[in-house]
């Protein structure tokens, strides 16, 4: 089944996500305006500066339509800044949890590490850049990756998927594939 995945293209690592979506066999579409939201099957909110992306969403009058979509159960995958926007109640309110911005410190503390993902046999290489984390999540949100110290760095709430790290900076398409095959496609099948 053919699926179209929007990539919010106001600021940040847009081309990296577009490549990932293509590599997963779906059609990417950059989203800059309300009109670009038409006929999408899912949306990715990339890493970038969350304060900048939020301001541009407000200026483009995209914040409220996006929030409404998220509330209706539209599939959205957010990485880093995308996690911040999805978890903030004043932004998209798509995930019940408490987000700590720049939670690991400044750029010098940015890091790479191997992650254990619930239900996956092989580890995932996580690249964390001035990354946020979730200090807790509440039902129906579930943690997918929790660091040894308890910080939650990947989570899912129904059709919303978030990671603190940047799958788009790796060659490992598993998170994008999971989003497209396990969240976007079943919903589209159900609807048709």
């Amino acid at each position: 089944m053919h699926v179209i995945i929007g990539v919010l293209a106001l600021q940040g690592a847009v081309s990296e996500h577009i490549k990932m979506v293509t590599d997963c066999g779906a059609t990417p579409r950059p989203v800059k305006t309300k009109a670009d939201l038409q006929d999408l099957d899912g949306l990715i909110i990339p890493g970038g500066e969350s304060t900048t992306i939020r301001k541009l969403l407000v200026r483009e009058q995209l914040l409220e339509p996006l929030k409404a979509l998220v509330q209706q159960g539209f599939p959205v995958f957010g990485t880093c800044a995308g996690l911040v926007l999805l978890a903030q109640s004043e932004s998209l309110a798509g995930l019940n949890g408490t987000v700590v911005r720049n939670g690991f410190g400044r750029q010098r503390e940015s890091f790479e590490t191997e992650l254990t993902v619930k239900g996956w046999s092989k580890p995932y290489h996580g690249i964390f850049i001035r990354a946020p984390y979730l200090s807790e999540v509440q039902q129906p949100a579930k943690a997918l990756v929790t660091l040894a110290d308890g910080r939650i760095v990947a989570a899912q709430q129904n059709h919303v998927l978030v990671t603190s790290f940047h799958p788009e900076l790796t060659d490992d398409t598993r998170f994008h594939q999971y989003f497209i095959d396990q969240i976007v496609r079943p919903l589209k099948t159900q609807a048709s």
């Binding site: 106001l10 970038g48 500066e49 400044r106 590490t113 001035r130």
Partner: protein
């Protein structure tokens, strides 16, 4: 195994800034205006380039107290400049934990032979370039991000345009070249062979390349984005304009929507006077910052 200061996190940090505007700010109040306008980062320096030009003398790294005050005042990343080749200034900025270091020709060079070996640092570096050879030499030294040099503090976009066009023209040449030609291209560009080969194989630079040096209006920002810049640095253009808050916001909008000309027209209305510009041909050779550290 957790690792910090890797190539991926240093280059990745710059990738997260794409499509955004990095603004020069000289104090906490300006940094707050920049953040509110939607800047993706601020560059903390005591004097913006046009003031450095006007003041003359030796331009050095800014007071660490001033940089730290700005780091405390905003949540977006904070960059700061060191003189070309000044390893001590760079270590000082790393010690106070700035997010990015600009080894910049805007300051008076400390070393006219050698740039800093940037691979040695946990903090990433951005460097200026006028052509692909310069770009690849800086990457070879460990730069994680590039920008055009332009001609800083002039409010004149022509040099940034030249540098962006030159780099992209040379990238196209490398990409379309036969693999047998790459060593000769490497010799002619005075660039490391392995990096020329990497550009050939990737079809692009391995790091992002922003526009800098002369951006004064929203239209200038849109022009540079259309020429292939990954994002924009604005030095003197914002806080030497009549209405900095409005100017800053308009440049952010133009950078995010560089082909939406109706929108750029709207945000360009009644902005007030931009900074006063300088014709490049009136500059003497020693007034040209772009020729420093090549």
């Amino acid at each position: 195994m957790t690792q910090t200061g890797t190539t991926a996190v240093k280059r990745g940090m710059a990738q997260m800034q794409k499509g955004g505007v990095i603004m020069d700010v000289a104090n906490v109040e300006q940094a707050k205006i920049a953040e509110k306008a939607g800047a993706v980062a601020v560059m903390a320096l005591e004097r913006v380039p046009s003031d450095i030009r006007a003041a003359g003398g030796v331009a050095r790294m800014s007071d660490p107290a001033m940089i730290k005050a700005i780091m405390d005042a905003v949540t977006i990343p904070v960059m700061a400049k060191v003189r070309i080749g000044h390893i001590a200034e760079a270590r000082i900025l790393e010690a106070i934990d700035v997010d990015y270091i600009d080894e910049s020709e805007v300051l008076t060079p400390a070393d006219d032979n050698y740039h800093i070996n940037k691979t040695d640092y946990k903090v990433p570096f951005v460097c200026g370039c006028r052509n692909l050879g310069e770009a690849l030499r800086r990457i070879g030294e460990g730069a994680s991000m590039l920008r055009t040099k332009g001609e800083p503090g002039t409010g004149n976009i022509i040099e940034a345009v030249r540098h962006m066009e030159k780099v992209n023209e040379q990238i196209n040449h490398v990409v379309s070249a036969d693999p047998d030609q790459l060593m000769t291209i490497s010799r002619d560009l005075r660039a490391p062979y392995d990096l020329v080969k990497q550009v050939h194989d990737l079809g692009k630079l391995p790091v992002v390349n922003f526009a800098a040096g002369g951006v004064a209006t929203p239209a200038d920002a849109a022009l540079m984005m259309n020429l292939g810049a990954d994002g924009i640095f604005v030095g003197s253009g914002i806080f030497h304009s009549e209405n900095p808050a409005k100017f800053a916001k308009a440049i952010v909008t133009a950078t995010a929507h560089p082909t939406d000309y109706a929108l750029i027209a709207k945000v360009s209305e009644n902005l007030g006077k931009p900074m006063k510009g300088i014709d490049i041909s009136t500059l003497t050779d020693d007034q040209k910052m772009a020729d420093r550290g090549i």
